[in-house]
């Protein structure tokens, strides 16, 4: 199963679990499964159209899936997937 690393701010929605094992073939399937297993994650990962929120980045290993095949990026049992929130801001 692929391993999903949950960022600290979202762990309260995964029972404080930092790493979740998911059986899936693509990133889209990973997102589907993890939001079924942990429904409160959904509003933090997906927008109202069901697409990955612009403030959420998904990495497989060290690569952003936007540079790969996006949600169609394949995963396997050795894939480590990181949910990476965009950290940004500014003074005004």
């Amino acid at each position: 199963m692929a391993t999903v690393i949950i960022p600290t701010p979202l762990r309260k929605f995964t029972n404080q679990t930092a790493k979740v094992q998911i059986e899936a073939g693509t990133i889209a399937e990973v997102i589907d499964r993890i939001t079924i297993d942990f429904p409160e994650l959904k509003k933090h990962l997906l927008d109202q159209q069901g697409a990955i929120r612009s403030f959420v980045n998904i990495f497989t290993g060290d690569e952003d899936i936007r540079d790969l095949q996006k949600e169609k990026t394949p995963v396997n049992n050795s894939t480590v997937i990181s949910i990476v929130p965009a950290i940004a801001g500014g003074s005004f």
Partner: protein, 145 residues
């Protein structure tokens, strides 16, 4: 309440002053009590990766964020938040700060002018995604939380 030990507090201030007039940014690590009180024992400075105007914007790259989470797991320490500076502006979160903010994290903001840190304040998102101020305090000798 968020209490910051003297060493990480000094490092944050130096980072903000040295980065002026650009915004600086970094991660906050430490411990948390059951009542939500936090003690910051370490910071990790990171590069402001914002392309463009760094004088009023900051951004942390995805790779730096992953390294920050990895550091926390490997060192059995909690990643508790983000700090950044507001050059020539108050230590109050902007709408840009709020829109990109995450639940759980503390957001420490340093208001900085040339050669001087004017204010340091800390904020957290509430249940309706609005910022609420946390009591921010430097750690005093013999103080515990």
């Amino acid at each position: 309440m968020i209490v910051v030990e003297s060493a990480p507090l000094a490092e944050m201030k130096t980072h903000a002053l040295e980065t002026f007039p650009d915004e600086c940014c970094g991660f906050l690590y430490g411990t948390e009590q059951k009542d939500g009180s936090r003690m910051i024992t370490k910071i990790l400075e990171v590069n402001n990766s914002k392309a463009g105007d760094k004088k009023r914007r900051f951004e942390i790259s995805g790779k730096d964020y992953m390294l920050a989470e990895k550091f926390a797991l490997e060192n059995d320490i909690l990643l508790l938040g983000i700090y950044h500076s507001h050059p020539k502006h108050p230590a109050i979160p902007s709408e840009h700060d709020r829109v990109a903010a995450l639940p759980y994290f503390s957001y420490v903001i340093l208001s900085v002018n040339p050669g001087n840190i004017d204010h340091i304040r800390s904020w957290q998102l509430n249940e309706v995604s609005q910022f609420e101020e946390e009591i921010f305090s430097p750690k005093h000798l013999n103080q515990s939380i």
